[in-house]
């Protein structure tokens, strides 16, 4: 069997997505057999020069010129580019204030006003700069999703992605509905499922780490939350934790 040539790396991120791959302890030996990890700085020495890949799996948002340079290199060098994780797909936590504060103010509040500031810009998804062929969502993503992705890539295809909200799985695993029964700020109805409703299963609201589900009725969710007494700014703050921009008027 031909081995899949992979690049796995991260841009502006916490490495959680890449670590998720290393957390597939049971599958790792088999995975290493199927794939050649040509570029995977987190776990492998080696460099990018002259290499070409069947797929590049990229975690993180783009927020520095170096990120961008690496991203372009990977795009040029690989047949498929996979946006891996919420940061890569929507900007993620680092982007949460993109719409409400200027980058330079944020930088100065951390690095001080007198100092030379790092060369960086507001974090944005990979898709803002290059074409993305496949996506894995989640902060961090589920281990089964990355295994399925690698297996599919090795088979010459992509894994079919289901598209239902967190509520679907949440109800199916017989969690208490925190929105209905407890009046909590749960984003389940508008967020892409696939995590088996991890958070509501522990009694904690869905914070929306997997980004919007395909036909999110955002306007109705907003209404539901307003009805339950949450302020508009609080709701927007919570919604933008992983994805700064939402269309609050969207109904389908």
């Amino acid at each position: 069997m031909k081995r899949l040539k992979l690049a796995i790396t991260g841009l502006t991120a916490c490495s959680g997505c890449q670590l998720t791959l290393l957390n597939c302890e049971d599958e790792l030996p088999e995975l290493l057999e199927r794939c050649e990890l040509i570029y995977f700085p987190l776990a492998e020495s080696g460099d990018l020069d002259e290499a070409s890949f069947d797929a590049a799996i990229v975690e993180g948002a783009v927020s520095t010129p170096k990120d961008l340079e690496l991203l372009f290199k990977l795009r040029n060098a690989s047949r498929l580019l996979v946006a891996y994780g919420t940061c890569a797909l929507f900007g993620g936590v680092a982007a949460m204030n993109n719409r409400v504060s200027a980058r330079v103010d944020l930088l100065q509040s951390v690095f001080g006003t007198g100092n030379k500031l790092p060369d960086s810009f507001p974090p944005v998804p990979l898709g803002n700069f290059v074409s993305v062929d496949a996506t894995i969502t989640g902060c961090p993503p589920e281990t089964c999703d990355i295994v399925a992705m690698v297996a599919a890539l090795a088979a010459g295809t992509l894994p079919p992605a289901p598209s239902y909200p967190v509520c679907t799985e949440c109800r199916s695993r017989e969690n208490l509905c925190l929105l209905l029964e407890k009046g909590q700020l749960c984003l389940g109805p508008v967020v892409q499922g696939g995590c088996n409703a991890r958070c509501p299963a522990t009694g904690i609201v869905c914070e929306g780490c997997r980004g919007p589900v395909r036909e999110a009725n955002v306007a109705q969710e907003l209404e539901l939350l307003l009805e339950r007494g949450f302020g508009r700014d609080e709701i927007e703050r919570r919604m933008s934790r992983f994805k700064p921009e939402w269309n609050y008027g969207q109904r389908s």
Partner: protein, 321 residues
């Protein structure tokens, strides 16, 4: 006179007898306060005062997600059905009718292998219930779609057998039973919401618009419905080079439900609500003309925006637009 009465005080012993017929599952309450069917390790956990479980017993017959086929060597093989002897105790009439409906779908010609394997090893013990505000039941009901039904009565339960397995249970529990007054005939069995006129879905009822704009497509109504069974099938390559085909509950309220290459036959939420109406209350081939609403009240209870499609069947004057 028959020995057909079980005193409440003997219930625990009766449950032990049921264990002879398989792993015993019954209504319990979870830590967070959700009623569900779960293994009954300790009879003290039994909650016969429940109104409805969040997920109906269909989860035992059609798991949320199931590997139906796998392909290791180039050819497909049936997945493992996971069938084992199971006794489901304390099922209400509505849920029994729900299973009866699913049986008509999945045990019909070319019976579904997984479903039928699990179904054939399932013993159903029904119990009578007290309807609450969410229930759609028009009158008290006693379903016969089970092996054995326990009708609450005074200090205990009347036992009514509806199958050979039910009779086997009763004879195994013979020493626990006593003679009771003769059983009244079952009052009413079957789905409870009458079939509707399919044309109603094209009515200019204002509720259609309202429902379509408020529905969040969370899927809860259908996930929790005892007779919803739409499924999606997806196939995933495995690392070893084979493939696994999984079947997962699908939902007619999702935009993907009617999508084909280049078109969507139900592009708007309104179209999909109509579809749901049609399937629930009018039925599809080969169950056309049969309503599948068994009156359990789950969809109404779990909907975050209070959609109740049955309201559409009330004359428009009487509902607030």
């Amino acid at each position: 006179m028959e020995k057909n009465f079980l005193k409440m005080t003997r219930l625990v012993q009766f449950l032990e007898t049921l264990r002879l017929f398989g792993e015993l599952h019954a209504p319990t309450i979870s830590e967070s306060g959700v009623y569900r069917f779960s293994p009954l390790d300790d009879p003290a956990e039994l909650r016969l005062d429940y109104h409805r479980t969040q997920i109906p017993p269909k989860k035992y017959l059609l798991p949320f997600r199931e590997e139906i086929l796998h392909n290791a060597t180039g050819s497909y093989r049936e997945g493992h059905s996971g069938a084992k002897d199971l006794v489901l105790f304390g099922v209400h009439s509505c849920d029994l009718e729900g299973i009866a409906y699913l049986d008509r779908v999945f045990l019909a010609d070319a019976a579904d292998p997984g479903y039928s394997a699990r179904r054939s090893r399932l013993t159903l013990v029904g119990v009578s219930c007290e309807p609450d505000d969410f229930c759609f039941c028009p009158e008290e009901r006693e379903s016969t779609a089970c092996d054995l039904f326990l009708g609450a009565s005074g200090e205990g339960f009347h036992l009514a057998c509806h199958s050979a397995r039910g009779r086997a249970v009763v004879s195994a529990a013979d020493h626990l039973l006593e003679q009771g007054p003769p059983l009244p005939p079952p009052r009413f069995s079957g789905p409870c919401f009458p079939p509707q006129d399919p044309e109603l879905r094209f009515s200019d009822h204002p509720l259609w618009q309202k429902f379509a704009s408020t529905c969040v497509s969370c899927g809860a109504c259908s996930v929790c419905c005892p007779t919803c069974y739409c499924f999606d099938v997806r196939e995933y390559p495995t690392l070893s080079g084979g493939a696994a085909r999984i079947r997962e509950w699908d939902n007619c309220l999702f935009v993907t439900h009617g999508e084909v290459a280049g078109a969507n036959f139900r592009p708007d939420r309104l179209d999909r609500l109509r579809f749901r109406f049609l399937h629930k209350y009018c039925g599809f081939t080969p169950l056309q003309g049969i309503s599948s609403c068994v009156g359990c009240g789950r969809c109404k209870e779990v909907c975050p925006v209070d959609i109740d499609l049955r309201e559409l069947t009330v004359t428009p004057k009487r509902v607030q637009p």
